[in-house]
């Protein structure tokens, strides 16, 4: 019996993936560990290896095809083996995919699970979790579809009266009549453009003579046309909305005098030592989290659990969105190791090469906009975490020091905290702990 190759579930929140490229073709020999295909997830591209040995008998999902995770995309077996007509039945008790994911994921137990599920080589014998079907295809006869296309309208709102509710020609005709389509005026060029752009003429207001739809109207409509968000963007949207609407945020800002540290860093740099300001902040945050374990915790609203290790997420901005590579066990690292890990992860993130387990499991996140010339900003807590630190630009400012106005390099940091588990005083203490570390150059001399 051939073995099914399933679409892996590379991330907790991944519902479907697209096959970007097949590296094996039907009939090719496949060894365990051979890379079968490359997928694009909501987070990045990744390669999928085979768990089986044999011959790639059949590819079910071609390049460019998008299928729910855990769907069978190919079969590996011995040449000549019959391929089952339907994939093995899904396991009924699968976890509903749309379950709110904030609550449990950060416990030690759930992390293990996450790692398992997210492993890239997931080739599941019995695919689980029937994913919710894609939005139902509009039921419309070819002829009615052609009429709608020719009329340059969107047939979706039309009520179908054919068998099984299929939209048939007469439904389109009736719809056009009801919408006084015949009275609609449009220039031929505009109509051509609208057809090409698949616009709905009935939704376009004409600004020409007597309401005639002109090329300008079409251009405007094209510009306003909804464009699909990338999968990554959609996940970001979903997660941040959920976090921001379900977590009571409050914000504490402190100003950090970075003058000494900046000067110290300059001397290190002159010695070809690679530390960035971010490295110092990351270290300061890690050290502070060890002092304030409540900030390094998770809650489900009923219980709270502290994480014994610091997995530090670093928000990285990409053209296509935002990713958060995770420095695992940051509390075990030296500054140099922290620097190296951070540099590697950021580089991978920029190249879209992050593996799923490099993007999951963070216990605290920091978002550094220091390079973006911002005075101050607040960040939205990464779901499942208790707080997030927003790091703004370091700028020269007049400050009062020893009753004198002097110019210092000031950096504002703002901690967004989940008020469910962190109170104001605690947040303030934590923020000041970070500040104290960053302002203490002697500390850094012991760490470098």
């Amino acid at each position: 019996m051939p073995s099914p190759i399933a679409m892996p579930k590379p991330g907790q929140f991944t519902e479907e993936c697209t096959i970007v490229k097949w590296l094996k073709k039907e009939g090719d020999k496949v060894a365990k560990g051979d890379i079968l295909f490359e997928i694009e997830t909501d987070k990045a591209n990744m390669e999928v290896e085979s768990f089986f040995e044999g011959t790639l008998l059949k590819i079910l999902t071609p390049e460019g095809g998008t299928v729910p995770v855990q769907a069978v995309v190919a079969w590996v077996g011995q040449p000549g083996e019959a391929i089952p007509a339907t994939p093995p039945p899904p396991t009924p008790a699968a976890k509903p995919a749309a379950q709110p994911e904030v609550s449990v994921q950060k416990s030690a137990v759930s992390q293990t699970q996450t790692a398992d599920v997210a492993a890239p080589q997931v080739v599941i014998q019995k695919p689980q979790a029937v994913q919710p079907a894609a939005p139902r295809k509009l039921k419309i006869s070819p002829r009615a579809k052609v009429l709608a296309e020719r009329s340059v309208i969107n047939p979706a709102p039309i009520r179908g009266t054919g068998p099984g509710g299929r939209i048939v020609e007469k439904d389109v005709v009736a719809y056009l009549e009801a919408k006084s389509y015949a009275q609609l005026k449009i220039t031929p060029t505009a109509k051509e453009m609208a057809a090409k752009e698949k616009l709905d003429l009935l939704s376009i207001r004409g600004t020409g003579d007597a309401g005639k739809i002109t090329v300008e109207d079409i251009k405007r409509a094209v510009a306003e046309k909804p464009k699909a968000m990338s999968k990554m963007r959609q996940v970001i949207a979903q997660r941040l909305t959920q976090s921001f609407t379900s977590t009571p945020h409050f914000f504490v800002t402190v100003s950090v005098d970075m003058t000494d540290l900046v000067a110290y860093r300059a001397t290190l740099k002159a010695k070809n030592m690679p530390y960035s300001v971010t490295d110092f902040i990351a270290m300061a945050v890690t050290l502070s989290l060890k002092e304030f374990p409540a900030v390094n915790s998770s809650t489900d609203g009923k219980s709270v659990w502290w994480h014994s290790k610091v997995n530090l997420g670093l928000a990285v901005s990409l053209e296509s969105g935002l990713v958060v590579p995770v420095i695992r066990d940051a509390d075990d690292l030296t500054l140099l190791e922290l620097h190296d890990r951070s540099a590697t992860l950021v580089e991978k993130a920029r190249n879209g090469k992050l593996l799923p387990d490099e993007m999951s499991g963070s216990t605290f996140t920091m978002s550094n906009m220091g390079m973006m010339n911002v005075e101050n900003f607040t960040a939205i807590i990464n779901p499942g975490e208790a707080a997030i630190l927003a790091v703004s630009s370091t700028t020269k400012q007049p400050v009062v020091k020893d009753d004198k106005v002097v110019v210092r390099q000031i950096m504002k940091i703002t901690l967004s905290s989940d008020h469910q588990i962190i109170d104001g005083a605690h947040a303030a203490q934590f923020a000041n702990a970070i500040k104290a570390k960053l302002e203490n150059v002697e500390l850094w001399k012991t760490l470098v």
């Binding site: 006869s141 070819p142 002829r143 009615a144 579809k145 052609v146 054919g162 068998p163 299929r166 048939v168 020609e169």
Partner: protein, 763 residues
Amino acid sequence: MPNYLSNKRPDFKPFTMDCGKISAYQFKGDLASELQAKHLTKAQALDIYEDMLMVREVEDMIVRLRSGAYEPIPTFNYRGPTHVSIGQEGTAVGACAALRLMDKITSTHRGHGDSMAKGSVAIRQMDEATLRSRVPGSTKKGAELLEEVLEDHVYRTIAELFGKEDGYCKGRGGGMHIADFRIGHLGANAIVGGGVPIATGAAMAMRYQHSDGVICCFAGDGAYANGVVLEALNWAAQVQWTNHLAKNHKFGLPIIFLVQNNQYGMTGRAEDEVMGVKNLVRRAVGFSDNNMHAEVVNGMDVLAVREAVSRAADICRKGEGPVLLEVNTYRYYGHSLGDPRMEYRTKDEEASWRAIDAIETFKKQLLDAKAATAEEIDAREKLVRDRNARAAVRAANAADPAAEDVLKFMYTDTKVDVVPAEFQKVKVIKADAAKVKRDKDGKINYRDAIKEGMVEEMMRDNRVIVYGEDVAEYGNAFKLTKGLLEQFGRDRVFNTPISEACICGTAVGAAMAGLRPIAELMYMDFALMASDQISNQAAKWHYMSGAQTKVPLVIRASVGGGKGYGGQHSQTLESMFAHIPGMYVVYPATAYDAKGLIKASIRDDNPIMFVESQLLYSEKGVVPEEDYVIPIGVADVKREGKDITLVGWGPAILDALKAAEKLAAEGISAEVVDIRTLVPLDIETILRSVAKTGKCVVVSQAVHIGSFTGEIASTIMEKAFDELDAPVIRVGAKNGIAPQSHILEAAFLPNANDIIAAAKQIL
């Protein structure tokens, strides 16, 4: 003319039957005695030797090609069958040496020898103009021209074996279907026995044409257990060709059934295994009171065969045929080169036959009779070998057919627009005996419309003949041919034995030989009895011969569905024949179409399955008395409409029209398209209608599964998907067997209500 009435009275007087004597191996001559008797000249004797060598050389070449011992050009790969007849040269050459240039033959899958011998013998009989026509552009004369034509013959034979465009059949036929219609070679046949009714039909045509030719029908011992061959023996021996019914044209069919008994039907042994007679010649006794002048001939003695076939041909030319000869010979190799032979015969047996090899024996006789010197014989042998080697290299180098021509020669686009003067002369026995009377509205029924069409075409072209079971005095089972016999006489309208395979097979041969037969099958169900002759012969010969021959015949078959005749008399089978490329399939639904289409079918040069429905025979319509034809392959919009298309053929069209009428009462406007011919299909008219209506129901009386309705539905889907507002629905008979019970048959067949229900599914 009073029709023939039987006068069979009871007569049970005891008697014993004398089946007569059949002689075997009576030829006592040899080359010396034959020369002395001036039965042939020394030159002819050497030619016979040369022709036997020619055959063997070609077949030896096949053996060497297949065994890798020979490559005409480097890396040449011979693909194709290897049914060599080595050992049988005496039979092939001996028989053909007794034939005239325009005498005909049919042959078999083991027919290289027959084909080459017929060709070379005919070529040697050609005048210079005919020779030159075979090698256009040649400037050679006399002996050189003859030699060039002989080499061309070898070349075209080998080129056909190699599947080349220059082959006799342009690479479409190959060795098993090789033919050269210019010299009366009507084709080798790869269906065992398949060529025998064709030869019989050709003989029938030669009788009708008062030709003085004969046809020699080669078939092996294996074929003489095959049904259609036994049908053909009976057919050829019918007394109506020679008794009082034939009036002043008493003439037996000029056919020699030459049984090439090489002892093995593939591997089955005639003599002691798969047949019940020691000598196959006994077959003749069963079919003719004169035993078909049968005798047994030594096929290893080329002169004995020549002498026997000469006498047989003489008998035939006198109108006393048919003749059956059992010619015993031996196949040295196996059925094909993949057959090691040792499962069923011994090396000793083979050696005993090789010891009397026809070529070696004759060579000795040439020397003994001083007909040729050893040097002359050597020179001939060299000539044959060199000629063959040149031809083989040329054939191997010759152009392959172009891949895009894969369907070239499937059909001919010719038809008889003008009847040549020689065929316009029609003898009418009793004028207007078959005339159809119109009612006061100028209407006639479907049955009479077909008859009127046939009568008009028979008056127009004397090559048109009509035959089938009970079509003569009785006027066919449905009185459709009533009056034809009286009007045209028995030469053109005659009853046949109940031999459906032979009815269709003889029509193929008659068509090849120049007639335009209309063969009738009383019920379409019986077409299955004749399916080889319809599907493998009629449909295929235009293509397989590389368009050397046309097969202008019409097989009229009537469908009996709807009258409670049960499973074997009620089937609508046209979809099966539409699946056989090479045939046209026509099925008119109205009297007007029936006349126009039968006339078009008779004039068309393609083989046509013309389907009629007995349910429609009484349907009346206005049918013009004058000449008109309806082009084949043009559909007809029987009713215009805009909401839904009902497309179909045959009696289902009447149901569709009824359905359209009822739908109209509900305000639904249905268009009815009658395709009229399934092949070729006028898909454009269907698509135009579907483009208008967007909805389509395809209807026929055929059972659902495998029906041509599926072909139409899928073609609409492929070509007009965007025009469709709903899925195409098919209506046909249930997937079952036509029952006798009226209640069951009504449930079985589709009707107007079924069509309405189908239409409403998608309206």
